[in-house]
């Protein structure tokens, strides 16, 4: 096995987000990557527990996952979720979990560069905007891989008012997605407005939580503003444009 695909809770369970998991596994299939998933043995990485303050639950989940991964002699991991990515990259090593981890945007970028994943000849496509997930961009410095993939496919990117290091949160992180009490305005509405203000056709992103938040806010803004912006994950876009060699 070349790499373990860590699916994460969001893309495993959420009906809408499962399309990210399907798209990415199809991409790996097309590029003949020898991969596997942990299936039901995979547990939440504990990101949300740790950030909500439940350190013990986080550590129990982390230890269980590290044990499972070691039992299966996993060396290399690819994730579709930037939160899972961040945990493996930055927080699991303190608990003995040293794995080589890649986010799927970097992974796809490498597959294309190595010629393993064949993309169609570059042609002019629509104008899009890219929303940097906090845990991929600002917190782990990955700004270029997702943008490069889109550009290699021929998309033109217009940046939002806040992007890269200054990217504005979608509102889902740190357990905020599960706080039901509504205080103030919704954060994703602000970001949705920024996205619509670019005039682009689509908001691209590379985090399941961001996709959910952006789709929700842009969906309702489309209603009030009469616009027609779509939200898509980069894995979905790449999968739609590639075929098996």
């Amino acid at each position: 096995m070349e790499v373990l695909f860590w699916v994460g809770c969001a893309a495993s369970y959420d009906k809408r987000l499962q399309s990210i998991a399907r798209a990415f596994s199809e991409i790996m299939e097309k590029a003949s990557v020898d991969y596997a998933i942990l299936g039901n043995k995979e547990k939440c990485t504990g990101d949300i527990a740790r950030r909500m303050g439940d350190e013990n639950l986080f550590q129990e989940l982390a230890q269980a996952n590290i044990k499972t991964l070691k039992e299966h002699e996993v060396k290399s991991i690819v994730t579709t979720c930037p939160h899972c990515f961040n945990m493996f990259k930055n927080e699991y090593p303190a608990f003995g979990g040293d794995f080589e981890v890649t986010h799927y945007t970097t992974f796809i970028y490498n597959l294309i560069r190595e010629g393993r994943l064949k993309i169609p000849e570059k042609q002019k496509r629509e104008i899009v905007t890219y929303h940097d997930p906090c845990y991929l961009g600002r917190q782990n410095g990955i700004f270029d891989a997702p943008r490069d993939i889109l550009e290699m496919l021929g998309y033109e990117i217009v940046e939002m008012e806040n992007s890269k290091e200054k990217s504005f949160c979608c509102g889902a992180g740190g357990g905020a997605m599960f706080e039901t009490k509504q205080r103030g305005e919704k954060i994703n509405t602000i970001r949705g407005e920024e996205a619509l203000n670019t005039g682009a056709c689509t908001t691209m992103t590379s985090c399941p939580f961001c996709l959910l938040m952006m789709e929700e806010s842009i969906g309702s803004l489309n209603q009030t503003r009469g616009t027609n912006m779509a939200s898509r994950d980069i894995a979905e876009v790449v999968n739609a444009l590639t075929v098996k060699q």
Binding site: I37, A49, E60, E73, V74, E165, K166, G171, G175
Partner: protein, 427 residues
């Protein structure tokens, strides 16, 4: 031929000289007490040792953040303002230290060519210092940056610094005009003023000692108030940046490791590892709050703050700082709602020019909330279901791989089987 050297205490009577030394002594004592007062409070925190090995690698970060001021520079206008004032301040401070070495410690430094260059450098940086201060005062007076709070005190600090800078030039100008020094052009500003001062009684040799003493007194007032005001960041910001930089916001430091603990310790860890009161923070966390200048960059970037939620990262920092002296329950001055509103996006930490880790502070206190079972019902249910079903949605753990059914996706249910199958296929 006239020797080129600094004539310290020109025209100053022994009474004035004595007064200066007395003021200096008082100012230094007040400063030291003020420093000790905060130092003692930091020490109440959980002790976190200085990791000297890290300090070496922190040096480049220190250069970027404290010297090149990369983060301050992101706001261009402020970048100029702050670099002018800070570089000016540091150079003028070094200049003053050199005078003390030259005169008080009788080590002749300010002589000959070195003295001429010294005069020129100080004159130039003094101008930058004053321009920076004027810029800062205009920015505040005209409310050009809404993130700044209206503070009379802030304007007063700037005015104090401005008066000290201008006073220095006035006494230099009078000295040059009275002494007719041949090398005066090396102090271009002082020289220019000396020409203007000719024939004005208020800028004559007779009034010189008054100017001189007022300059000294203002400078000593500045020294004395540093550890009691936000000017303390002159010291605490570089300290925090060097010893506790935030290089990556995505990493939460492990407060403890359950695996390395006995059952008893696990029970104790619950008591000490979340922050419930001030002394539960680490000493470096407490020091970091003293580096805050209330610039508001964090608030201006915070998604919770921008969407009208009860969280303002600056308030979190200043409330910890201002309540440090009485070791009370954190919840008596920071509400659970504030802490629960954070998305941990890291925009505040990224924006902070003095390397405060707001997320780290907030998460420490969130751990405290969980210990005290201060949590909203929905969030608690979510954590309980997460523990039972190992996923954030609380759906059955055995449904996790259902999405992959029928898609021919290899599942590592037993590693040996998978790798064996692959070997067979390969063969």
């Amino acid at each position: 031929m006239e020797t080129v050297q600094r004539d310290t205490f020109w025209m100053i009577s022994s009474n004035y000289k004595l007064m200066m030394y007395i003021f200096a002594g008082i100012a230094i004592l007040v400063f030291l007490y003020g420093f000790y007062r905060r130092f003692r409070l930091w020490r109440r925190g959980v002790r976190e040792k200085v990791r000297w090995n890290d300090v070496k690698t922190n040096l480049s970060y220190f250069y970027q953040t404290a010297i090149a001021q990369r983060k301050v520079k992101k706001d261009k206008l402020f970048g100029f303002m702050h670099r002018f004032t800070s570089y000016g301040f540091v150079i003028l401070f070094i200049g003053t230290v050199l005078v003390a070495i030259d005169y008080d410690f009788k080590i002749p430094l300010l002589r000959g060519n070195f003295y001429l260059i010294y005069e020129l450098v100080l004159d130039v940086f003094g101008v930058l210092f004053l321009i920076g201060l004027a810029l800062a005062m205009v920015i505040r007076a005209r409310k050009i940056r809404p993130r700044l709070r209206d503070g009379m005190a802030d304007q007063a600090f700037l005015l104090l610094l401005l008066l000290i800078g201008m006073g220095g030039y006035i006494i230099e100008g009078i000295r040059i005009s009275e002494m007719e020094i041949s090398h005066a052009v090396w102090s271009p500003v002082g020289y220019g003023l000396s020409v203007l001062f000719q024939g004005h009684a208020i800028f004559s040799g007779a009034s010189y000692p008054i100017w001189w003493l007022s300059h000294a007194v203002l400078a000593f007032i500045l020294v004395a108030i540093i550890p009691y005001t936000k000017l303390f960041h002159f010291l605490t910001a570089p300290l925090n940046i060097l010893f506790h930089p935030v290089k990556r916001t995505g990493n939460v430091e492990a407060p403890y490791n359950l695996e390395e603990m006995t059952e008893e310790e696990r029970y104790d860890s619950l008591k000490i590892q979340g922050v419930n009161k001030i002394s539960d923070f680490t000493n470096w966390q407490l020091l970091s709050t003293d580096a805050c200048t209330e610039c508001g960059r964090c608030d201006s970037q915070c998604p919770a703050n921008n969407s009208g939620k009860p969280l303002a990262p600056r308030n979190i920092v200043t409330k910890i700082r201002d309540n440090m002296h009485h070791d009370e329950e954190v919840l008596s001055f920071i509400s659970a709602e504030e802490l629960q509103s954070c998305t941990t996006c890291g925009a505040c930490v990224e924006a902070c020019p003095v390397s405060i880790n707001h997320i780290d502070l907030i998460l420490s206190m969130r751990r405290g909330l969980i210990q005290n079972q201060v949590i909203e019902q929905e969030a608690e249910n979510m954590l309980v279901r997460l523990e039972e079903q190992n996923n954030i949605f609380g759906k059955p753990w055995s449904d996790r791989e259902d999405w992959s059914k029928g898609l021919n996706i290899p599942v590592l249910s037993d590693s040996k089987k998978v790798s064996d199958n692959q070997k067979k296929e390969g063969a």
